[in-house]
C-alpha cells in the first residue's frame, strides 16, 4: 500500500512538472501581447515597453519560466498581469464558487443516477427501464450550455424562481448563494446523471449474474433486498471509478456553464485570463487543475484498492 501511494505521488509530481512546461510553451507560442491588450490600439511604443517591463515580460522566456517554477516550489503562484493581485488570492476567491458548484452537481447527479439505475434494473425491459435509458441517451447528447439556457428560460425568465445568472457571494447568506448555484449545478448534473445512471444500471446487471446473488435468492431473500443489500454495494465500485473520472469533466463543464450563468468561478477566471493573455493566471490555474485531476484519480484508485483486496495481492 505504501509503495502504491509512493508511486502515485511520483506520478503526481511528474504530471505537474510536465503541465508547467506544456502550458508555458503553449502560451509563449500563441500570438498575443498582454501589454498591447491592456493599452489598446492607441498605445505608443514607449508606454508598451514601460508596461512590459512592469509586467516582467522584458526578460527571456527561459528566465521567466524558471522564476515562475521557482515561485511555484515556494508555494507562490505569482501576481496576475491584469488584475495586479496574487493569483493565489484570485483562485481562492473563485474556488468558493466552483467547488460548491462541482460538489452540488456531483451530489445532485449521484442522488438522481443511483435511484434511476436501480429503477431501470427493477423494471428491466419494461417502461421504467426504457424511460431511464432514453433519459441517459438524451442526457449524454445534450450539451451543458444548452441545458443551461433552457433552465434559465424556464426557471428564471418564465417562472422567476431563480436568478438568471450572477452570484451574490456567500456573505449575502447561504440561501441566496445556493439559489444562484442551483440552476448551474442542475445544468452540469443532468448530463452527468445520464452517464452515471447508465453505468449504475450496467454495473448492477453485471453483479446480478454473480454466484452470491443466486445464493442469496436461493436462501429466500426478496428481490428488492437482493438489489439493495447485495447487488448495489458491489456495483458501487465501478460507479465510484466513473464518478472520479467525471469530476475532471465537471471542471471542464464548469468553464462553459460559469460563462452562461456569469458565475465568478475558476472556469470564468481561466476563460477571461486566456482572453486577456494573463499568462501568470492561466499558468497557475492550469497547473492547479492538472494536479487536481491527477489527485482525484489517485484517490479513486487508492479507494478502490482499499475496497477490493484483489489488485493489492496481484501487485
Amino acid at each position: 500500500m505504501l509503495a502504491f501511494a509512493l508511486r502515485r505521488s511520483l506520478t503526481l509530481a511528474l504530471t505537474a512538472w510536465l503541465a508547467t512546461i506544456v502550458v508555458f510553451a503553449v502560451l509563449e507560442l500563441v500570438p498575443g501581447d498582454p501589454a498591447l491588450l491592456m493599452l489598446g490600439v492607441n498605445a505608443q511604443a514607449d508606454t508598451l515597453a514601460a508596461l512590459r517591463a512592469q509586467m516582467g515580460l522584458d526578460h527571456p522566456p527561459v528566465e521567466r519560466y524558471l522564476r515562475w517554477v521557482g515561485g511555484l516550489l515556494r508555494g507562490d503562484l505569482g501576481v496576475s498581469l491584469t488584475y495586479a493581485r496574487p493569483v493565489a488570492d484570485l483562485v481562492a476567491e473563485r474556488l468558493v464558487v466552483t467547488l460548491p458548484l462541482a460538489l452540488l452537481s456531483l451530489a445532485l447527479s449521484t442522488a438522481a443516477a443511483i435511484p434511476l439505475g436501480l429503477l431501470a434494473v427493477a423494471r428491466r425491459g419494461r417502461g421504467g427501464d426504457w424511460a431511464v435509458l432514453g433519459f441517459a441517451q438524451i442526457g449524454v447528447a445534450l450539451p451543458s450550455f444548452w441545458i443551461a439556457i433552457l433552465l434559465i428560460l424556464v426557471f428564471s425568465v418564465t417562472l422567476g424562481w431563480f436568478p438568471a445568472g450572477g452570484f451574490p457571494g456567500w456573505e449575502a447568506g447561504a440561501l441566496p448563494a445556493l439559489r444562484a448555484l442551483t440552476l448551474p449545478a442542475l445544468a452540469l448534473a443532468i448530463p452527468e446523471a445520464a452517464i452515471l445512471a447508465r453505468v449504475t444500471r450496467t454495473a448492477i446487471l453485471d453483479t446480478l449474474g454473480e454466484d452470491h446473488i443466486r445464493t442469496a435468492r436461493a436462501k429466500g431473500v426478496s428481490r428488492t433486498a437482493v438489489l439493495l443489500r447485495h447487488a448495489l454495494p458491489n456495483a458501487l465500485l465501478p460507479v465510484a471509478t466513473v464518478l472520479g473520472l467525471q469530476l475532471s469533466f465537471l471542471v471542464a463543464g464548469a468553464v462553459v456553464v460559469e460563462n452562461v450563468f456569469t458565475l465568478p468561478g475558476l472556469g470564468r477566471l481561466l476563460y477571461q485570463a486566456i482572453g486577456q493573455r494573463d499568462l501568470i493566471v492561466v499558468q497557475g490555474v492550469v497547473v492547479l487543475l492538472a494536479v487536481f485531476v491527477v489527485l482525484v484519480n489517485a484517490l479513486v484508485d487508492i479507494a478502490c484498492a482499499a475496497a477490493d483486496p484483489r489488485p493489492k495481492a496481484a501487485s
Binding site: 500563441v30 500570438p31 498575443g32 501581447d33 498591447l36 491588450l37 491592456m38 493599452l39 489598446g40 490600439v41 492607441n42 498605445a43 505608443q44 514607449d46 508606454t47 514601460a50 508596461l51 491584469t82 488584475y83 495586479a84 493581485r85 484570485l90 476567491e93 473563485r94 442522488a111 438522481a112 435511484p115 436501480l118 429503477l119 427493477a122 439556457i149 434559465i152 428560460l153 428564471s156 425568465v157 422567476g160 424562481w161 431563480f162 436568478p163 438568471a164 445568472g165 450572477g166 452570484f167 457571494g169 447568506g173 440561501l175 441566496p176 439559489r179 442551483t182 428488492t224 438489489l227 460563462n259 452562461v260 456569469t262 458565475l263 465568478p264 477566471l269 477571461q272 482572453g275 486577456q276
Partner: protein, 498 residues
C-alpha cells in the same frame, strides 16, 4: 419499495427547491439603486493605465473626474475644473479648480494632484493608453492650490477634448498606485466592492462637493453571453443593459411596456479595413470596385436589424463638420466588375477576411463576403480572438481585409500616422492634419475635417460601412441614462427612478 424511494427522493428535491425559492421576494421596493448590465468586465479600474472601454464605462464621471467633462450631448462642460481660459496663441490653458474638491480618502483634489496626474501620464514610466493626448504639454505649473497653468509646445485644437477623456482622470499621489483594485477619485460615487467576474458596486459619496446624484447605489454587472443578457433583463436581474447588441431581440423589448429601448449614436465608425500596401488593394480601382460592390443597406439590415446609419468616410454624421459622402460609390455590381476588369482582375481574385470577436464583425463579415463574391472577390473568413487580432492584424499588419469599429472620438487623425495598420500614405492628408493642429477656429477646423473626409472617400482607403449604434434596453421607469455615447462612459450621476 423501489417506487417509494424514488418518490421520497422527488419529494425531498421539491422541498429543497421550494426552500430556495422562498428567499426570492426579499428586495423589491427601495429604488435608489440601479443595476447596469455590460458585456465586458474591466480588467482593472484605473482609467489612466488601460485602454479597455469597460474601465471608463464604470469609472468615468462616477468615480473619477477629469479637468473637463463630456456631457451626454458631447459638449465640454466643467469637471474638476470649474472654469478655464485659453490664451490667444492657443498654447496656454489656465484651469480654475472647484474650491472644495476632495478625493474619497480625504486627500485634497487640488492643483498639486492635477500636476501629479498630468506629469504621470506624460512621464517616462507612463502606462497611459492615450499617452499621445498629453504629447503637446510642455509644462504644468501650480501658481496656487486652485489654479493650474498648462503650457503647450504647440497649439493643439483637441487639447481640451483630450483633457476630458477618462484617460486624463485626475488621481491622487496618495492612491494612484492602488487604483487598479481600489479606485479613489474625486467623483460623486465611491468604490464599494468588486466581486470579480460578477459586478462592481459603487455607493454615493456623502462628501461630494457638487450636486449629489439621486442614486445611492449602482452596480455594474458583467454578462457576456447574449442569451444571458436577454434573460437578465427579463428576469429583472439588471435594470438596464447598455451597448446591447442582441439586436434580434429588440422588437420583443420594444413591444413590452415594462421596457424602453433607446438607439443613440456612438463614435464607432465601422470599417472594412483594407491593407493599402498589399496587392491588389494597393490599386485604388480595386478599392473603389469594392466600395461599389458593398450595399450598406443590406449590411445595416442584416447586422444591426436596421438600427444603424451609413457613412461614406471616417466621420460620424452627428458631429459638426460632417460631409455626407455615402452617395460617392452607389451600390452597382456591374460598375464594380468593370473597375476590377480595368485593374486587371476580370475574373476577380482571392483574399482573406480576418474577423475579431464582436458580433457586428462576425455577422457583418459574412455579409461582406457574400456581397463581394457577387463581383468575383472570393474571401476566406478567418475568425480571431482579440489577442490574436491585435497582435497579427493591428500590430503585425498581416492581413488583407478586416472588419472593425473605430470607437475613439474624433480619430480621423489615424490616417496621418505612418505606421497605422491601414498602410495608407498620403502627403495631402498629412498636410491637412498639420493645418488642423494649427487651427483653433471651429468653422475653419470643420472645413478642414470636410477636406479630410473627401480625400479618404476619394481614395476609398477602407470600406466605410456604418456607425455602430448605442442601444440601451432599460426598465421603462428609469430616466437620465445617456442615449448617445459621445465618449466611453456610463455617467449615472443624472439617473432617477420614476
Amino acid at each position: 419499495m423501489m417506487m417509494n424511494r424514488a418518490r421520497s427522493f422527488a419529494v425531498a428535491t421539491g422541498v429543497f427547491a421550494l426552500a430556495l425559492v422562498g428567499g426570492a421576494a426579499a428586495w423589491a421596493q427601495a429604488r435608489t439603486d440601479l443595476v447596469i448590465g455590460m458585456s465586458l468586465e474591466p480588467p482593472h479600474l484605473d482609467p489612466t493605465a488601460g485602454a479597455a472601454a469597460a474601465i471608463k464605462e464604470v469609472t468615468y464621471a462616477n468615480l473619477f473626474e477629469s479637468l473637463v467633462r463630456v456631457d451626454s450631448s458631447g459638449a465640454l462642460v466643467p469637471g474638476l475644473a470649474e472654469g478655464w481660459t485659453v490664451a490667444d496663441d492657443g498654447k496656454t490653458y489656465r484651469f480654475t479648480l472647484r474650491p472644495n474638491a476632495k478625493f474619497h480618502d480625504g486627500a485634497p483634489g487640488d492643483a498639486a494632484a492635477v500636476k501629479f496626474s498630468l506629469d504621470r501620464a506624460r512621464g517616462a514610466e507612463s502606462v497611459n493608453g492615450q499617452k499621445g493626448y498629453f504629447a503637446s504639454i510642455a509644462s504644468v505649473e501650480t501658481p496656487d492650490p486652485r489654479s493650474v497653468v498648462v503650457t503647450l509646445s504647440r497649439p493643439d485644437g483637441l487639447f481640451l477634448f483630450h483633457m476630458a477623456a477618462g484617460d486624463a482622470a485626475i488621481v491622487s499621489p496618495t492612491s494612484a498606485a492602488t487604483n487598479k483594485q481600489k479606485p479613489i477619485g474625486t467623483g460623486p460615487f465611491t468604490f464599494d466592492r468588486w466581486a470579480a467576474g460578477d459586478r462592481v458596486v459603487l455607493t454615493r459619496n456623502p462628501e461630494y462637493d457638487g450636486p449629489k446624484p439621486a442614486l445611492e447605489r449602482v452596480s455594474f454587472r458583467f454578462i457576456s453571453d447574449a442569451a444571458a443578457q436577454i434573460a437578465s433583463l427579463k428576469a429583472g436581474d439588471v435594470d438596464a443593459f447598455v451597448q446591447f447588441n442582441a439586436f434580434e431581440a429588440l422588437p420583443e423589448f420594444r413591444n413590452d411596456p415594462k421596457f424602453a429601448v433607446t438607439v443613440g449614436t456612438t463614435e464607432g465608425e465601422t470599417l472594412l479595413s483594407t491593407n493599402n500596401a498589399r496587392k491588389p488593394f494597393d490599386d485604388v480601382r480595386v478599392r473603389r470596385a469594392m466600395a461599389h460592390a458593398i450595399d450598406r443597406k443590406t449590411l445595416i439590415d442584416g447586422v444591426l436589424y436596421g438600427n444603424g446609419v451609413p457613412i461614406g468616410s471616417h466621420f460620424p454624421p452627428h458631429r459638426a463638420g460632417y460631409v455626407d459622402l455615402t452617395g460617392l460609390y452607389p451600390y452597382d455590381p456591374a460598375k464594380a466588375k468593370a473597375l476590377l476588369a480595368e485593374a486587371g482582375y476580370p475574373n476577380g481574385f482571392d483574399a482573406t477576411l480576418r474577423l475579431p470577436p464582436p458580433p457586428y464583425a462576425r455577422r457583418g463579415g459574412e455579409l461582406v463576403a457574400a456581397l463581394l463574391a457577387e463581383v468575383g472577390i472570393r474571401l476566406t473568413i478567418e475568425p480571431m480572438e482579440w489577442a490574436s487580432w491585435l497582435d497579427k492584424v493591428f500590430k503585425g499588419k498581416d492581413y488583407d481585409l478586416t472588419m472593425i469599429a473605430h470607437t475613439e472620438p474624433l480619430d480621423i487623425d489615424v490616417y496621418a500616422r505612418d505606421s497605422y495598420y491601414f498602410n495608407y500614405r498620403s502627403a495631402a492628408f498629412v498636410r491637412l492634419e498639420e493645418e488642423l493642429n494649427r487651427t483653433q477656429d471651429p468653422a475653419a477646423r470643420n472645413a478642414l475635417y470636410g477636406q479630410q473626409q473627401r480625400l479618404l472617400a476619394d481614395d476609398a482607403v477602407n470600406g466605410f460601412l456604418f456607425m455602430l449604434p448605442a442601444v440601451t434596453v432599460q426598465n421603462a421607469k428609469i430616466s437620465g441614462l445617456w442615449v448617445n455615447r459621445p465618449i466611453q462612459a456610463n455617467d449615472v450621476t443624472g439617473v432617477t427612478w420614476k
